[in-house]
C-alpha cells in the first residue's frame, strides 16, 4: 500500500489490485477512521477526502494499518438485474472466450459480483467477481453510441450503461432496470460494496 497527500484535503491510497480496493473501502465503511469525510474508490486507488480539521499524517498511519483481506459481502444488499442476452458482441465474445452463448449466459448469471467503484457516468458501476473465462479486452473501436441498459464486459469488469453514451465495452445483453434516476434517493441502483447478480430476463 502506498499513500500520498493529494491536493490540500485528500489522500490517495494505491493498492495492488481491485480486490484490495474493495476490501479497504468496505473496511473503512464498517469501521471508519475519524477525519475521513468521503471515499472515492477506483481501479487500484481510493481517494480519501479529509475533514478540514483532520490530521493527514495521523489518518495516513491509521489507514496503512488496515487489513486488505477479502471483504465480507454486505448483508442484505443484493441487487438482481434481469438481462436479455442478445448483445451485438455476443458472437465476438464467444470467439474470444471459446464459450458458447449458453455458457456465456451461465457464467455471467452464475457469479456473485461486487460493485468495486463507480465512474465514467453517474451510476455506472464497475462490477468484479467474473470468472476468468469471461475476461475479454474492450473493443478495438469504441462505439459512438451505446444504448441505456446495455450490459457489457471489459477486462475483469462487467457493467450496465446507465444512459446512452459512447462506449468500448463488449455488449452481451440489455436490461430494463433503471440504473440512474437523479430524482430518487439514492439516485443510483449500484454503489460501491453491494452485491449484484444478473439473471436471464
Amino acid at each position: 500500500m502506498r499513500v500520498w497527500e493529494y491536493g490540500e484535503d485528500a489522500l490517495l491510497v494505491e493498492l495492488a489490485d481491485v480486490a484490495a480496493v474493495v476490501a479497504l473501502r468496505a473496511g473503512l465503511e464498517r469501521d471508519p477512521v475519524a477525519g475521513i469525510e468521503e471515499m472515492v474508490p477506483a481501479a487500484r486507488t481510493v481517494l480519501l477526502r479529509l475533514a478540514p480539521d483532520a490530521d493527514a499524517t495521523h489518518v495516513m498511519a491509521l489507514v496503512q494499518r488496515r487489513s486488505l483481506s477479502a471483504a465480507e459481502p454486505e448483508p442484505g444488499a443484493v441487487v438482481e438485474i434481469p438481462v436479455t442476452y442478445d448483445g451485438d458482441d455476443l458472437d465476438e465474445v464467444a470467439g474470444l472466450t471459446g464459450l458458447s452463448v449458453d455458457d456465456i449466459v451461465a457464467a455471467h448469471t452464475g457469479a456473485d459480483l461486487t460493485v468495486a467503484f463507480c465512474g465514467f457516468a453517474p451510476g455506472f458501476g464497475y462490477l468484479v467477481g467474473l470468472p476468468e473465462s469471461l475476461h475479454v479486452p474492450r473493443r478495438r473501436e469504441p462505439r459512438t453510441k451505446v444504448p441505456a441498459g446495455a450490459v457489457g464486459l471489459a477486462a475483469e469488469f462487467t457493467g450496465v450503461y446507465p444512459r446512452e453514451s459512447p462506449g468500448g465495452w463488449q455488449l452481451i445483453g440489455r436490461t430494463a432496470a433503471v440504473l440512474w434516476d437523479a430524482d430518487q434517493d439514492p439516485p443510483a441502483l449500484l454503489r460501491p460494496g453491494i452485491t449484484v447478480r444478473f439473471r436471464p430476463a
Binding site: W4, Y6, G7, E8, D9, A10, L12, E14, E38, M39, V40, P41, A42, A43, R44, T45, V46, L47, R49, F117, C118, G119, F120, A121, P122, G123, F124, A182, P186, P187, A188, R191, P192
Partner: protein, 287 residues
C-alpha cells in the same frame, strides 16, 4: 421557494449556467461536485446582496448575458469585470445595485477574465438536483444552460440585510501564476518535465471549459509508459494525456481519469485558473 418568474432571459451569451457551491457526497456514485468555477467570486456576489451561502448565482462566460427584471431586484456582479449596463446607464461591478421592474440588465465582454457572476437577492430559484442547483456540464445534471426566452424565478435564500456597499477586488491577473504542488504521479514523468512545467509559459486553449483548462506549450515527457488504471481526480489536478500537454481540472472534472496527474493547483488559485481566457498565457510555480 418562490415560484414567481421574475427574470426574463433576453440573451444567454456564449454560455450562462446556474451555479451554487456544488453537490457533495456523490463522487462514489460517479457524480462530481460541480459548482461555481470561481468560487470566491460566486461567494462575494452572494455576500453583496445578503444571500445565504447556498444561494445560486448565474455564471456568465465572456459576458453577453441580457436579462429583464419583472420585479424590483437587488443585483451584484463579480468575477470577470464585464461592463454592466442597466438600460443605457453603466453600473459598477462588485457592488449591489437596484434593478427596477421592467429594466434591462446587460453584460458586455469583460476586458480581463472569463466568468462573471450575477447574484440576485434571494438567489436563482430552480429545483435542486441531488441537493444542488449547479449545472454539471460533464454529467449533464442540474438546470440546463440558460436560453433566450426562458424565465427564472427568485428563491428566498437570504441571510442578513446587505451591508457592503462595494467590495475591493483585484481584477483577474493579465499574467497569472498558479501555485502547484506535486501530484500522485509526478514520478511517471522525467525529471526535466517538472522543471519544464515550472519554467514555461503555457497558452490557454480555446477548447477549455468548466471541465478543465487545456494548455499548450512544451510537452511534459513521461518516464513510465503504459496505461494508468483510472484513478480519482480532485479539482486543480493537472493531468497529462499522451500528447504531453497539461490540463488543469476545474469544477466539472470527471470523478476518475486515466492519465497521470503531475501536480495539483492550490485551491485558492482555482478561481484564477477558471478566469483564464483562450489565448492567455499562464505559468506555474512550486508552492
Amino acid at each position: 421557494m418562490n415560484d414567481v418568474k421574475m427574470i426574463e432571459v433576453l440573451a444567454a451569451g456564449l454560455l450562462t449556467t446556474v451555479q451554487d457551491l456544488g453537490r457533495f457526497g456523490y463522487a462514489a456514485l460517479g457524480v462530481g461536485r460541480s459548482g461555481a468555477a470561481d468560487l470566491a467570486s460566486h461567494r462575494l456576489a452572494n455576500r453583496l446582496v445578503g444571500n445565504a451561502e447556498g444561494a445560486a448565482t448565474l455564471e456568465a462566460t465572456f459576458g453577453g448575458l441580457r436579462l429583464r427584471a419583472h420585479a424590483d431586484l437587488l443585483v451584484a456582479i463579480t468575477g470577470a469585470p464585464a461592463p454592466v449596463y442597466v438600460g443605457s446607464a453603466q453600473q459598477g461591478g462588485n457592488a449591489p445595485f437596484r434593478l427596477p421592474a421592467g429594466a434591462e440588465l446587460r453584460l458586455g465582454s469583460p476586458a480581463t477574465g472569463l466568468r462573471s457572476y450575477v447574484a440576485v437577492r434571494g438567489g436563482i430559484g430552480c429545483d435542486p438536483v441531488l441537493g444542488s442547483r449547479s449545472r454539471d456540464v460533464l454529467a449533464g445534471l442540474g438546470p440546463p444552460p440558460l436560453r433566450a426566452g426562458e424565465f427564472l424565478s427568485v428563491a428566498a435564500d437570504t441571510a442578513a440585510d446587505p451591508v457592503v456597499d462595494v467590495a475591493p477586488v483585484e481584477t483577474p491577473s493579465v499574467e497569472p501564476v498558479l501555485r502547484i504542488a506535486p501530484g500522485p504521479r509526478q514520478d511517471w514523468f522525467t525529471a526535466p518535465a517538472w522543471s519544464t512545467l515550472l519554467s514555461s509559459a503555457y497558452t490557454t486553449s480555446p477548447d477549455s471549459n468548466r471541465i478543465g483548462v487545456r494548455l499548450s506549450g512544451p510537452a511534459l515527457e513521461r518516464r513510465t509508459p503504459g496505461e494508468l488504471p483510472s484513478e480519482p481526480i480532485v479539482p486543480g489536478a493537472v493531468q497529462v494525456p499522451a500528447s504531453g500537454q497539461p490540463l488543469v481540472f476545474l469544477a466539472d472534472h470527471p470523478v476518475t481519469g486515466g492519465y497521470p496527474v503531475i501536480g495539483v493547483v492550490r485551491r485558492a488559485d482555482l478561481g484564477m485558473a477558471a478566469q483564464l481566457r483562450p489565448g492567455q498565457l499562464v505559468r506555474f510555480t512550486a508552492r
